[in-house]
């Protein structure tokens, strides 16, 4: 029943697929119930926002952007991309975001248009983190099948700080694209943003639900949503920033860069119906509601807690209807509990495939007593391995249930001779399973070398989860399924929300030395002028007191309002009268002045203050009014 004037709407199959029913994000139902992301702010951390584009303008947060403009003046002034330069792909991502969630406010933080450092990433991840709810990041380390990189010290600290202090303490939501390195056999576990526990890692599937050629697999992927596939399949309709076709639109956008903001939009829908969802609530709801579907290439495995996961599709397709209905009745998960094993020194050789090195660590009930950790969310393994050709290594992690995660895939293009130095791999495939038991790390060398060359120096296991028991998880699964009919999705049903914390935010705007100098100069001038004016007033009053003419005859002070005296608002005034001089005789003979004579245009143009001040002048002869007009006449 929702209608749009966007002529491209019928082509946006990912929103409403009429050709292959079900192959869309299932969002129209929540739109019909007025859930459009209202009150939620999504910021696209990328290369800027072309906010004048018609698709974005109504959703662009002008107020905040004005504030930003001060801070990022240099960049903002240059924010429209230069025609002829490589097209900034994020410009296309934003309409994808806005179209899935057209009630939200969107913003941009520009980080990718120049040199980028760890500290800049850290600033970006926490920028206005009490205003920005969701950070959509469709970028990362090179997807070239040989890079192993991720957030450095400050970026990591900022992500952690964001989930602790962002969004009034409910935690910033960081959505990241899993990567476009599929054709290079890249894996998103070699991308530290994608395998961070603080991010929501989103992959792409094509209209048929298959993993496209560019998409990357990994054990830490949470879910997938739609984007373009090969040439025979439809891509994403979005804004064409360079207007080369003259329409301002393109139907050819693709890649995980289109998928991640769609997910950000769906999370915004969730936050509208339940603003107090924490960052972990959002991850849980995705895990609980993402849908497994028929794809024989995906190798779905159902874990002990009943969640199906595939390295290709995470827990499955994001479904806006399911996400929003689950969010509506979701009560927060218990606190994050964790367990860190000691650093396990191994110094063992890694055999050639098909043989493998297997190391174990048992996590006992006593180990978990302190934290209360019972069921798992993320499981991370930090390894140090020496190997002359890093891409030949394959790492698998087995949870106590036996659930296998391929955390490190071989990569033919990765010939780095330095191995892994404290690199953290992670998996979500054991989500909801019991934490207690024996974890197995299996490493093997699939390279062509004829002798053993790799050595597992050390490893460390980190478990994240909560005090939820397997029963609690099953209960929550049942509760959510009961809500999927949409029976709670109306305004009358609202679960109470805690108020959130008041966390002050550092305003990044600092006064430049030049501004400071100008302010000091203006300040000095003001002080000087004030002293001068006070002296002048003082001296003129002294003159009044000592003026012979006043002493020798009556001197009429202007009438002062009694009320003004009482209120203390009486203004300093000087009696506008003088002793008679030769001209005065003639003036007096003209009789009392009329009001129109007195209220010269200059006076009329002034406000009440001036008129009240000059009331006294009305009692005085007209030549004193001349004084008000700037004529130099002698006064008392």
């Amino acid at each position: 029943s929702v209608h749009f004037n966007d002529p491209k709407y019928p082509q946006q199959w990912h929103l409403n697929n009429r050709r292959i029913p079900g192959r869309d994000i299932n969002v129209t139902g929540v739109w019909e119930r007025n859930v459009t992301g209202r009150g939620v702010t999504v910021v696209v951390v990328d290369d800027g926002v072309e906010h004048t584009i018609q698709d974005i303008a109504p959703n662009y947060s002008e107020t905040l952007s004005q504030k930003k403009r001060k801070m990022y003046k240099k960049h903002i002034e240059n924010k429209s991309p230069t025609y002829g330069s490589p097209p900034p792909s994020s410009l296309a991502r934003r309409p994808a975001l806005v179209r899935s969630c057209y009630g939200l406010r969107c913003l941009g933080i520009r980080v990718l248009d120049g040199p980028l450092t760890d500290s800049m990433e850290a600033v970006a991840f926490n920028k206005h983190y009490q205003i920005n709810d969701i950070y959509s990041c469709s970028w990362g380390p090179d997807d070239d099948g040989k890079t192993v990189d991720g957030p450095h010290q400050l970026g990591k600290a900022a992500l952690q700080h964001g989930v602790i202090a962002g969004r009034q303490g409910f935690g910033s939501i960081f959505v990241v694209a899993s990567g476009n390195g599929g054709q290079h056999n890249d894996n998103c576990n070699y991308d530290g943003y994608a395998n961070s526990i603080y991010t929501v890692t989103i992959g792409a599937v094509d209209e048929e639900g298959h993993m496209p050629f560019y998409a990357e697999e990994c054990a830490s992927m949470l879910a997938v949503t739609f984007s373009g596939g090969d040439k025979m399949l439809r891509s994403i309709v979005t804004t064409d920033w360079d207007l080369q076709k003259g329409t301002g639109c393109t139907e050819g956008h693709t890649g995980t860069s289109a998928a991640a903001p769609l997910a950000a939009g769906m999370i915004a829908l969730m936050l509208q119906v339940r603003p107090c969802l924490t960052w972990r609530d959002v991850q849980h709801i995705i895990v609980f509601t993402a849908t497994q579907y028929e794809d024989h290439r995906a190798e779905w495995i159902t874990n002990e807690a009943g969640f199906s996961h595939s390295h290709q599709h995470g827990f499955g397709l994001l479904n806006a209807w399911r996400l929003v209905n689950a969010a509506k009745i979701w009560t927060s998960v218990p606190y994050l509990a964790s367990y860190v094993s000691p650093v396990l020194k191994e110094n063992k050789a890694i055999p050639q495939s098909p043989r493998s090195l297997e190391v174990l660590w048992n996590v006992s009930r006593t180990d978990l007593e302190m934290s209360g950790l019972k069921t798992l969310e993320h499981v991370a393994v930090t390894v140090s391995i020496t190997h002359p050709r890093r891409g030949s290594l394959e790492l698998k992690l087995f949870c106590p249930s036996g659930m296998m995660s391929l955390i490190g895939t071989p990569r033919s293009m990765d010939s780095d001779p330095n191995g892994f130095n404290d690199w953290t791999f992670s998996t979500v495939r054991c989500w909801g399973e019991r934490a207690r038991g024996t974890y197995r790390l299996v490493v093997r060398d699939v390279g062509d070398e004829s002798f053993q060359v790799g050595i597992l120096r050390q490893w460390q296991l980190t478990l994240y989860g909560s005090v939820w028991s397997p029963v609690d998880i099953r209960d929550r699964q049942r509760l959510l399924e009961s809500a999927m009919s949409g029976k709670y999705l109306h305004d009358d049903f609202v679960l109470p929300c805690p108020p959130g914390l008041k966390i002050p935010e550092e305003d990044g705007y600092t006064i430049t030395p030049n501004t400071l100098k100008t302010l000091v100069l203006v300040g000095c001038f003001t002080v000087f002028w004030t002293i001068y004016y006070m002296l002048e007033v003082y001296l003129s009053q002294r003159n009044v007191a000592s003026n012979q003419t006043c002493r020798s005859g009556p001197c009429h002070w202007p009438h002062r309002s009694r009320k003004a005296k009482e209120e203390g608002t009486e203004l300093e005034s000087v009696p506008l009268c003088s002793s008679k001089d030769p001209d005065e005789v003639e003036t007096e003979s003209r009789g009392p002045p009329t009001t129109s004579d007195l209220l010269a245009p200059d006076l009329l143009e002034q406000g009440d203050w001036s008129l009240s001040q000059n009331k006294g002048a009305l009692d005085c002869p007209p030549q004193h009014l001349d004084l008000l007009h700037g004529k130099k006449e002698q006064i008392c």
């Binding site: 933080i109 760890d118 800049m120 600033v123 090179d142």
Partner: protein
């Protein structure tokens, strides 16, 4: 993100260091840390470009721009590293390097 610590973003142009300070007077007020950061930056021949975003105790020190020979730069680096490494309030420090980040 002009003014947030990129090698060219802050307008000073030289190399930069991220420094994590802990207050020498226990639970430090932001102002005390700021003063401490100013003093430390001066001691290292750098300029304190301010706190790094919302990360308390983290500051960015930058080397003012200027034409310097490679050898000079190396000497400056060593001097800065020595000052930062030897200071009791410095919990962690790192010279800021350019990161390779690609759009997807």
């Amino acid at each position: 993100l002009a003014g947030t610590g990129g090698p060219h973003g802050h307008g000073l142009g030289g190399p930069s260091w991220a420094v994590h300070l802990e207050s020498l007077e226990g639970e430090g007020e932001e102002e005390t840390l700021e003063q401490q950061a100013d003093a430390l930056a001066r001691a290292a021949g750098l300029v304190n470009a301010g706190r790094i975003g919302e990360l308390q105790g983290h500051y960015l020190f930058v080397q003012p721009a200027g034409h310097r020979l490679l050898l000079e730069m190396e000497a400056i680096r060593q001097q800065v590293e020595a000052v930062l490494a030897g200071h009791e309030a410095v919990r962690w420090h790192s010279e800021q390097r350019l990161l390779r980040r690609a759009k997807r």
